[in-house]
Symmetry: D4
Subunit: 159 residues, 8 copies
C-alpha cells in the first residue's frame, strides 16, 4: 500500500499531467503559482515513489487500420505450462493485455487486429502455442469506453 502522502499541489500536478503528459513544467508552475523547480521536484518524487511509472502515447488504432478488437479466453492443458505459454503470448505483438484469471479460462487476452482475417491469424498463433488446449473468442462490436482518467481522478480525490 502507498505510504507516500500526496498533498493538494501533487494532486493538481497529476491532474494536469493526466490531461496532457507533454505539458511543459513551466506551464504547470505558472498555473499553480509555484516555481518550475518545485514541479520538477515533486514529479521526480512521485516517480521515485513508483506512483508515476511513465507515460504512453495514445494512438488512433482505427486510423492505423487496427480497429478489430477481440478478447480471447485460453484453456491450458496443465497450469504448470502457464509461465511458458505467457512467454509465447508475449511474442505476439497483437496481444496487448494478458491475465491469469479465475473462472473458466486459465489466461484471458485482449488482441487488436486489422480485420476478421487478421484476427483469425492472431487467434491461430495463440492456438498453436504448445500447451494451449483451446481458445474461445469474444469480438468487440464497439469500444464504448476506454478511459483511465476518471479512475485516476477518483483515486487522487480519495488520497
Amino acid at each position: 500500500m502507498a505510504k507516500f502522502k500526496l498533498d493538494e499541489i501533487d494532486h493538481q500536478i497529476l491532474d494536469m499531467l493526466i490531461d496532457n503528459t507533454r505539458v511543459p513544467f513551466t506551464d504547470i508552475a505558472k498555473k499553480l503559482v509555484i516555481s518550475a523547480g518545485t514541479v520538477h521536484v515533486r514529479v521526480k518524487k512521485m516517480e521515485d515513489a513508483g506512483i508515476i511509472k511513465g507515460s504512453s502515447l495514445t494512438l488512433d488504432y482505427k486510423q492505423l487500420g487496427y480497429s478489430f478488437i477481440a478478447y480471447v479466453g485460453v484453456f491450458l492443458q496443465k497450469t504448470s505450462q502457464t509461465k511458458f505459454v505467457l512467454e509465447r503470448i508475449n511474442e505476439i505483438p497483437y496481444v496487448t493485455v494478458a491475465h491469469i484469471t479465475t473462472g473458466k479460462f486459465n489466461v484471458f487476452c485482449k488482441i487488436r487486429a486489422k480485420n476478421t482475417e487478421h484476427a483469425k491469424d492472431v487467434i491461430f498463433m495463440i492456438d498453436d502455442i504448445e500447451g494451449v488446449y483451446r481458445t474461445e473468442t469474444m469480438i468487440s462490436l464497439e469500444e464504448s469506453l476506454n478511459d483511465k482518467k476518471r479512475l485516476m481522478h477518483s483515486i487522487f480525490n480519495e488520497m
Copy 2:
C-alpha cells in the same frame, strides 16, 4: 483506413515518443540529425492526421492501492437499453474499459478495485443499473502482460 504515409523519419520519431512521451523535441532532433522544427512539424502532422491522439500517464495501480482487476460480463434486458446502460457505466470511475461484444455478453467491462470487498461494491453498482439483467465476473489473479508498445512497433514496421 490511413491514407497518410509515414516515412522512415516519422517512424523513428514515433519510436522515441512511444518509449517516453516526455522526451524533448530537441533530443529527438539531435538523435535523428534533423532540426527540432522538423520534429515539431512532423509530430503536428501526425496529430492533425489523427494518428497521435495524445498521451496518457502510466501510474502504478498497485502502489496506489488498486491492485484488484476483474472482467465483468453484462447481460442487458433489451439491447435498446445499450446506450443508456453505457452512459451509467461511464459514471462509475472504477470501470476503465467497456465494449459491446458478440458472444454471450452484451457489454464487457474491465474494472479496477482496491480489494475483494471494493470489487463487490463496484459489481453491485453495475448490477443496479436499470436495464442490467445479470453480470458474470472473472477475476484476474495476475496481470501478466499490459503493453501496447510491441503492437505500435509492429504497426510502424509494416507501414
Copy 3:
C-alpha cells in the same frame, strides 16, 4: 418422399444444369445426343414434380462489400411469439437463413453484413424485435465451404 423416378438421362441433365443453370438446352441436347425438345420436356417434368424449384444467382459478396458472416442464436420470451418474430426477422434483408431449432436457441439465423459495425446494427435489429429475449453471436472467420453441388450429385447418384 419423392415417388417420381429419375432415369439416367434426367440425371445427366441435372448434372449439367447444376454446373451452369444458364447452359442452353440445345447444348445439353447435343451432349446427350437427344433432341432439345426432350431436354425441355424432361426439365419441365422435373419442375412440375417440384424437384427443380428454380435457380439462384451466385454473387461474390466479398466483391460487393458484404464479407462479414455471423450466426445469431435467438432466445424468445415465449415460443408462442415464434411466428411473429420470424415475420419481423424476414423484414431484415441481412438475415439470409433462419431456422427454428432444438438445443439452447429458439431460432438460429445466418446474417451477412459489411463489417463489424454493420453486423452490430443487424444484431441490434434482431435484438429489438418484440418477443426476442436475448441473442448470442458466433462470427465466421472464414467461409471454408459453401457448396451444394456435392450434395446434389450424391443425391442423384443414389436415385
Copy 4:
C-alpha cells in the same frame, strides 16, 4: 472492396436474373428497351468484375427426401489441424456449409440428411475425422427462411 460502379441498367438486369437466372437475354433486353447485345456485354462485364460468379439450381430437398437439416459445431484438438479437417469435411457431400468461427466451436457446419438415422451417420463421419475432438449438434425443426434475394436487392439499392 468493389471499385466497380453499377448503374441503373445493371441494377435492373441483376434484378431480373435474381428472380430467374434462365430468363433469355432477349427478354431482358425487350423489357429494358435495350439491345440483347447490351445485356450480354453488361452481364459479361459483371462476370469479369467478379460480381456474378455463376448461378445455382434450387432443388426441393423435401421432395428429394433430404428434409433433415442440422448445424454441427466442431471442436478440434489443435487449430493447426484446421486445414486438414476442413479437407476431410469437404469429402462428406452431406455437409453443405462450413465456417471457421469464433466462440466455442472451431468449425461450424450445416448438414442435410434424410432422417434422424442418416443424420447420426453424417455426424459420426465428422466425429471420426482425425483431429476432431468433439461435436455438438443443433437440429432444425423448421427452415423458416432461406432467401438471399432480399439481401441482393438491398445491396443493389445501396450501390
Copy 5:
C-alpha cells in the same frame, strides 16, 4: 424400505413373469413343481405388499409411426409453479416421463413423436404452458438400450 422377504420360490415366479407377464399360472406351477394355487397366493402376496404394481404392454413405437424420441429440459419462472406445470404436462400424451431434477433444469421430460415436425409441435405445447420460461431439447439419434429386466434380475438376486 421393503420389510417383506422374498424367498427362492417368489424369486423364480418373478423371473418367469418378467420374461412374459401373460404366462399362465399353471405353466409357472408346473415348472416350479408347486400348485397353481401357491403361485396365485404368492403373486397376490407380492401385489398386496406393493412389490408388483401391474404389468404394461410393450408396443413397437417404430411400427406405430412414433420413432422420434427427445428429452426436453424445462426451466420454470418460479418453482412454486412446479405442481401446476406438471399437471399441464400430464395432459400432453406425447410426454411419457417427467422428473423434477437438480442441475440446470427444473423439470426434465421424455417425449415420443412421429417426426421432426411433430416433435416441434409437442415442444411448443410444453413451451406454451403458463409458468414455463424456456425449454432445451436433446434429440435421440438411436435408442440403444431400454430394458428393465436386467435391473429386476439384479434386484431379485440381491434379496
Copy 6:
C-alpha cells in the same frame, strides 16, 4: 410406417390389455361380445405385425429399495467407440435406458440406484469404461410422471 390397419375391435382389445395385460381373453371377449377365438386371432395378428412386442411387469422400485433415479450424460473420447461403450453400459444392470443423442452428450443414460452412495458407484462404473471421457449427472428429486398409457390411447385414437 405401419401399413397394418387396426379396426375398432383391435382398438378396444388393445385398450383393455393396456389397462391390464393379464386380463383373460374370455373376459375381453365377453365385454366386446365376440368369441374368445376372435380375441386370440386378433392379438396374434397384432403380435405378428410387430405392433405388440410383449408385456413387462411394473414393479414398485421404492418398495424394492431402488428409489434413486438419475440421468447421466456421457462424453466419449471418439464416437468410433460408441458401439463398444454401449456394450459395456449394457453390462451395468442399473442403467435402464441409453440413447445416442444430439447436443452436448454423446450418450445419455437413465440409472436407478439404492441411494446417493450407490449412485456414486454406478456413475463410477460408467466413468471407468474405456473410451468414456467424462460424465455429467442430473438427479431426479421426484418422478412426477411415468406413464405410456396416455400415449398408447392417443396413438390408437389417431389410427
Copy 7:
C-alpha cells in the same frame, strides 16, 4: 490484518485447543510447564484480540439422519435484493453456509438434508424466496474432506 503477535507458547496452546476444545487449562499448563493462570491469560488475550471467536460442537450428521449435502447456486432478479434474500435464506436452518460470489451465481449455499425428498423441499424453500430467479443444484456424492485443523496448524506455523 492481525497486528497481534503470537509467540511459541500461544502457538502450542492453540494446537492443543484445536485438537480438543474441552481440554482443561490445567492439562495444557502441565504439558507446557506453565501455570494454569498463564494459559487462562493467554487464551483470554487471543479471544480479546478476536483470534479465537469461540468453539463449535462437531456432530455426526450421518448418525443424526442428515447425510444429504448439496450446493445450491442462486440467481437473483436484481442484486439490490441480495440483502433481503440472504435474510430469508438465514431463516432456513438447513442452509449452513451462504456466500455472495463471482461467476455465474449471485449467492452460493451449502445445504444439509435428510434425503433426496427433503433436499427437494429445502431447494424449493430457497426457490420460493421473493427475488430468487432460479437455482442450480450440485449434489455431494461423498464428503471426502472437511477439516480446518490442517489450515489452522499451517497458519500458526507461519506466524
Copy 8:
C-alpha cells in the same frame, strides 16, 4: 439412521454445548437442576453413540489474514483417479472442504487463502496434481452465513 433416542435433558445439554463447548459441566448441571455426574454420563453416552464427534475451535480467519475464500471445481481425467487426487488435495492445508459431486465437476473444494496472489498459488497446487484435468474457480465476495447452530437446533427439535 440414529436408533438412539435423545430425551429432553439431552436436548438441553446439547443446546448449551452448541452455544459454548467450553461451558463447565457443573454450570450445565446447575442450570438444568441435575447432578454434574448426570451431565457427564449423558455427554459420554452421546459421544459413545457417535452423535457428538468432538468440538472445533472457531477462529477469526480475517484477523489471521486468511480472508480470501474460493470454491474450486475440479475436472478429473478419469474418475478412477478420484481417490489418488483426493489424497493429494488432502495434503494442501488451504483446502478445507472437498466433495465428490454430481453435475459438471468431479470434485468440488473450498479453499481459504491470504489474498488473490495466494489463491492463485493454491489453485495452481490443485491444478498441478496428476490426474486433474482442469479447474474452475468461483470467488466469494462476502461470507454472508456460516452457521451450523440453527441446523443443530432444528435437528434436536425434531428428535
